[in-house]
C-alpha cells in the first residue's frame, strides 16, 4: 500500500532529456521505479536509459498506462507542462519546479481539481515509498522501508529527518514533499488524511516551517480526525520577522506565522513536538509506533 505511489506505479518523466532530468531518471530507475516513458517537446523518438521519449504526453498515454507524471520542467514552462499532463487524464502529477508564478499555480491547481488529478508541489523533491517506488530526488541512503509516514514542506529537511530515522532503524511508509508554497497542490491536511487511512502507516512525522497558517489548519485536522500519533517539527524558531527564508511561503507576517504559534497549535491538538531531528526517533520509539 503506502500512499500516492507503490510498487505498481508506472511513471512518466517530463523534461527527461535535460541534464537534471536524465541524471535523476537514472537514479530513480536504479532504485526500481518503473519509468515507462519520457516527454520532451521536439525530442520525440529519442531514448534515455532505454526509456522512449515522446513529443506529447498524449502520445505516451496512448501507448502506456501512466499512473503518475514527474516533471523536471523549468518554472516558466511548468504551467503548460502541467496542464498537458492533467488534460491527458494522469491521476498524479509531481511538480518539482521552483518559482512557478502564483497565477500559473492557481490555474494548475483548479484545473487539476476539475479533472481529478492530484498535484504534489510545486517546489517539491517528490514522493518516495521506500523499497517500492521513488518519484523523487531524495538521496537513496536516507531511505528505509517501514511504517512511519513523513510529510514536509522542505525537501532537504525531509532528507535530514529520514537520515536520522533510517540510522535509528526506523523505516518510512511514504515520504511526501508538499513544497515550499505559497500555494500547494496537496496540503499538510490532505496528506495527514491519506496517512490516517493507510494501513501501512503507524505514525506520521510532519515537518513544517514559519509562514502562513497551514500548520494551524493541520493542527485542527489532527485534533478532530487523527487517531495515529503525529510528531511535528517546526523549523524557523530563530527566524526574524518579515524576511523571506528561502521558500516563497516562509515569511513571518503576523503572530500566526511564527514557529511558536504553530508549535503551540500543534501541541494543543495533541501532536508530539520535536525541536530537532534527533528528538524524533526517541519520540517514535517511546510511542512504540
Amino acid at each position: 500500500m503506502a500512499i500516492l505511489i507503490d510498487e505498481n506505479t508506472r511513471g512518466l518523466v517530463q523534461g527527461i532529456t535535460g541534464a537534471v532530468g536524465s541524471f535523476q531518471t537514472k537514479i530513480m530507475k536504479e532504485y526500481g521505479t518503473k519509468v515507462v516513458a519520457g516527454v520532451t517537446p521536439g525530442k520525440g523518438g529519442m531514448e534515455v536509459y532505454g526509456i522512449p521519449v515522446y513529443d506529447f504526453v498524449e502520445e505516451a498515454v496512448a501507448r502506456y498506462e501512466i499512473d503518475a507524471a514527474f516533471g523536471f520542467v523549468p518554472a516558466r514552462f511548468a504551467k503548460d507542462a502541467a496542464l498537458e499532463v492533467i488534460d491527458a487524464g494522469t491521476p498524479l502529477l509531481v511538480l518539482t519546479a521552483e518559482g512557478v508564478p502564483d497565477q500559473d499555480m492557481l490555474t494548475i491547481i483548479n484545473y487539476a481539481a476539475a479533472k481529478g488529478t492530484t498535484v504534489v508541489g510545486p517546489d517539491t523533491p517528490g514522493v518516495v515509498s521506500p523499497g517500492k517506488c521513488k518519484l523523487g530526488v531524495h538521496p537513496n541512503r536516507v531511505l528505509l522501508e517501514g511504517h512511519v509516514g513523513v510529510l514536509s514542506k522542505s525537501g532537504a529537511l525531509s532528507y535530514e529527518v529520514c537520515k536520522t530515522l533510517t540510522e535509528n532503524g526506523i523505516g518510512q511508509s511514504t515520504i511526501v514533499g508538499i513544497g515550499g508554497g505559497p500555494f500547494w497542490g496537496l496540503s499538510q491536511e490532505a496528506v495527514l488524511s491519506m496517512f490516517e487511512d493507510d494501513p501501512e502507516t503507524n505514525a506520521v512525522v510532519m515537518l513544517g516551517e514559519v509562514g502562513g497558517t497551514m500548520e494551524q489548519q493541520a493542527a485542527a485536522f489532527i485534533a478532530q480526525h487523527m487517531t495515529k500519533p503525529v510528531v511535528a517539527l517546526i523549523v524557523g524558531r530563530a527566524a526574524p520577522e518579515g524576511a523571506q527564508m528561502g521558500h516563497a511561503g516562509a515569511i513571518i507576517e503576523g503572530k500566526e506565522g511564527t514557529a511558536t504559534a504553530k508549535i503551540e497549535a500543534l501541541k494543543q491538538a495533541g501532536a508530539h513536538i520535536a525541536y530537532r531531528p534527533s528528538d524524533i526517533p526517541h519520540i517514535i520509539k517511546k510511542l512504540g509506533a
Binding site: 508564478p101 529537511l157 530563530a238 527566524a239 527564508m245
Partner: protein, 378 residues
C-alpha cells in the same frame, strides 16, 4: 516586488481608476509647483508610514517647503526618503477598503472589501471581522456582475457603475501584471466620484519573465528613488542566486535547502551560538552558486566561523565540493570552515574536499557543536 505608492497609482490611473492630482517632489524647491492645500507623502515601500511621520498635510507655501525638507531628512526603518508624492487634498465623505488578491486557503482569487477604510485591515480583521466582506472569484468564470453588486450593497454604495469599473480594472491589473495584491486603502467617496487615496501593489517576482521590460523598469526606478543602506554582503547577495538574510551574530551559515537552513539557524542558537546570517542556495545550485555563497557570507566582517550544511537531493555534492575548492583557490579562507556533506554524489564530493585538505562531517549536530566551539575560541 512591492511598488512605491506613486508607481502603483500610475498603473491604476492608466486603467482609468481615479487618483488625486499630484506631482513628484525630489527636492524642496519643487514645492513651488504645488496646488495648496496638499498632502505630502514619503515614498517608501513600507506599511505604517503615517505613524512614522511620513504623511503630512500642508496649507501654505512656506509650510510646504519646510515640511518637505523635514520629510527628506526622514529615515523610516532604514529607508531614507528620496521622493515625495504631493497630492491635492481631497474632500472625503467616506472611506472604503478594497483589495483584490489570492486566497491562499481556497486557491482562488478574491475581492476583499470593508466599510472600515483607511485603517490597518489586519486590525479590522482581528477586532471587527464582521466588517470585512470577502467574495471568491471562480477562475473559470472570472469576475461577474453579481459579485460586484453584492459588494456594492454590503458597502452601501449607490454609484454602482463607477464602483463596477474600479473593481473590474483592479482585477484586470491583478491578472495582467501578475500582481499578488492590488489594494486601495482608502478608496475615498468624494462629492463627485471615487478616488484612490492610497494604493499598494505587490508584483509576483516569479512572473518577471512574462513582463521583462516593465518589471526591470519599475525596479530600476525604485532603486533610484528608494535608498536603503546595505552591507557589502547584502549587496553581493542581491546579484547572486541565493537567499541571504543578515543577522547580528558571528557564525556564518550556508545550506542547500530552506528547511535545513532554518534548522541550522535553530540548532546553532540552541547550542549557544549566534548566527550571523541565513543563506540558502536553492535546489538547483551549482558550483558557481556555492562559491558565490561563501563570498557573500564571508563579506560580513562579523563572521568568525562558517558552517556549510549540505544534504543533496537535486543538489549534487560533487558540484558543491567543486564550488568550495574554487573558493579556496581564489581566496585565503579568513575563518575556519565546518562542512557537513551528505547525499547525491557524496563520495565524489568528499574525495574532492579531502584532496583539498578539507574534512567533512556526516552528522549535523556534531557539525553544529564544532562550529559553535570554533566561533567561541576566536
Amino acid at each position: 516586488m512591492r511598488l512605491l505608492e506613486f508607481q502603483a497609482k500610475r498603473i491604476l490611473a492608466q486603467h482609468d481608476i481615479p487618483v488625486p492630482k499630484s506631482v513628484l517632489l525630489t527636492s524642496t524647491t519643487d514645492t513651488a509647483k504645488l496646488t495648496l492645500p496638499a498632502v505630502l507623502k514619503a515614498q517608501v515601500p513600507l506599511g505604517g508610514r503615517g505613524k512614522a511621520g511620513g504623511i503630512r498635510v500642508v496649507e501654505g507655501a512656506e509650510e510646504a517647503a519646510a515640511v518637505a525638507a523635514e520629510l527628506f531628512n526622514l529615515v523610516i526603518r532604514g529607508h531614507t526618503v528620496q521622493v515625495i508624492l504631493a497630492e491635492e487634498k481631497t474632500e472625503i465623505l467616506n472611506e472604503i477598503y478594497l483589495a483584490v488578491l489570492y486566497d491562499k486557503r481556497a486557491n482562488v482569487p478574491m475581492v476583499m472589501a470593508s466599510t472600515a477604510g483607511g485603517v490597518d485591515i489586519e486590525q479590522v480583521a482581528k477586532e471587527t471581522p464582521e466588517r470585512i466582506v470577502k467574495k471568491h472569484i471562480d477562475p473559470f468564470i472570472g469576475l461577474q456582475p453579481y459579485t460586484i453588486r453584492y459588494l456594492a450593497r454590503a458597502l452601501g454604495i449607490d454609484d454602482l457603475a463607477s464602483f463596477d469599473a474600479i473593481v473590474r480594472q483592479m482585477f484586470a491589473v491583478l491578472r495582467g501584471y501578475d500582481a499578488t495584491l492590488v489594494e486601495i486603502n482608502p478608496l475615498a467617496v468624494t462629492p463627485s466620484e471615487f478616488t484612490a487615496l492610497d494604493a499598494k501593489m505587490v508584483l509576483d517576482d516569479k512572473a518577471a519573465f512574462r513582463h521583462a521590460e516593465l518589471f526591470v523598469a519599475l525596479r530600476e526606478e525604485q532603486e533610484k528613488l528608494d535608498k536603503k543602506e546595505l552591507t557589502l554582503a547584502e549587496q553581493l547577495a542581491k546579484k547572486g542566486d541565493m537567499t541571504y538574510v543578515l543577522l547580528d551574530g558571528d557564525i556564518g551559515l550556508i545550506a542547500d535547502g530552506a528547511g535545513t537552513g532554518m534548522l541550522a539557524l535553530d540548532l546553532v542558537r540552541d547550542a549557544g551560538g549566534h548566527p550571523a546570517n541565513f543563506c540558502e542556495m536553492g535546489g538547483l545550485a551549482d558550483a558557481e552558486t556555492m562559491c558565490q555563497s561563501i563570498e557573500v557570507v564571508l563579506a560580513n566582517p562579523n563572521v568568525k566561523a562558517l558552517l556549510i550544511t549540505l544534504i543533496g537531493g537535486l543538489t549534487r555534492m560533487d558540484h558543491m565540493a567543486d564550488g568550495i575548492v574554487q573558493y579556496l583557490q581564489q581566496h585565503e579562507a579568513p575563518v575556519p570552515m565546518v562542512i557537513r556533506m551528505c547525499g547525491t554524489q557524496e563520495k565524489v564530493g568528499k574525495a574532492t574536499l579531502q584532496q583539498a585538505g578539507m574534512d567533512t562531517f556526516d552528522d549535523l549536530p556534531e557539525a553544529v557543536q564544532a562550529v559553535v566551539r570554533l566561533a567561541k575560541a576566536k
